[in-house]
């Protein structure tokens, strides 16, 4: 799957975009965030409070309970501040 990180989530993880193998035990977006938080200090810092993170699966906004699959593109970002 393709993972993308934006704004302060990108800065904390140190990654903008990566190809990633979805672990077998991960089925939802919330579980994916729990899993990513275990990847090191930067990821732990970025994903320490899921309530402030928004996410899109295949470029559509979704809730934490949304299912994720190996072929998905998942983007993580803070609430939007455009305009």
């Amino acid at each position: 799957m393709k993972l993308l990180y934006f704004a302060w989530i990108r800065e904390r993880t140190g990654v903008h975009e990566e190809d990633y193998d979805l672990p077998d035990n991960v089925t939802t977006l919330a579980e994916l965030m729990d899993h990513l938080a275990t990847r090191g200090p930067g990821f732990a810092d970025a994903f320490s409070d899921q309530s402030v993170i928004r996410a899109a699966v295949n470029q559509e906004m979704v809730k934490p309970g949304h299912m994720v699959a190996q072929g998905d593109e998942v983007g993580f970002f803070p609430p939007m501040t455009g305009g």
Binding site: L4, F6, A7, W8, R10, A56, Q59, M61, G75, F77, P78, P79, M80, T81, G82, G83
Partner: protein, 150 residues
């Protein structure tokens, strides 16, 4: 209907002229131009950098336009949004709504900018006296966008 996401500046007057070229069915247009301010919460801002999600941004803006078209009687709409680094006084975003009647144009324009603020994937970072800082989403913006749900 059209949306553009670009690094370079835009000319609101020229955009309006282009949108109206050859049209005889439009009775009024309402435009909104968002600009970079040199202050925030009483602190100085020397520059603004806008990050976005290429691909998703264009899709989200088209969705917002389609929603405006379904809610209001508008003939044309245009959204131009910049990304990258900008200085105070520069344009950030342009929204134009054109309709046979002014009321629909006013409402559509306000709806477009209110929804864009909370549902198009852009993030602002401000350069201030203490260095760069990510702008936090404002509750007032969520409230404005949510008001259109009623």
């Amino acid at each position: 209907m059209s949306v553009r996401v670009q690094r370079e500046d835009f000319d609101p007057g020229q955009e309006l002229k282009d949108l109206l070229a050859g049209r005889r069915d439009i009775g009024g247009t309402v435009s909104f131009v968002g600009l970079v301010r040199d202050f925030t919460d009483e602190k100085g801002v020397s520059a603004l950098t806008l990050e976005h999600y290429p691909g998703m941004t264009e899709k989200a803006l088209l969705k917002i336009e389609a929603e405006a078209q379904s809610r209001f009687d508008v003939q044309e709409t245009l959204i131009v949004h910049r990304h990258g680094r900008m200085e105070p006084g520069e344009n950030i975003v342009l929204v134009i709504a054109a309709s046979a009647h002014r009321g629909e144009a006013f409402r559509a324009c306000e709806f477009l900018i209110d929804w864009l603020k909370t549902s198009a994937p852009f993030w602002k970072s401000e350069d201030g006296v203490d260095g760069p800082r990510w702008v936090e989403a404002r509750e007032a913006d969520d409230t404005k966008a949510a008001a259109w749900q009623d």
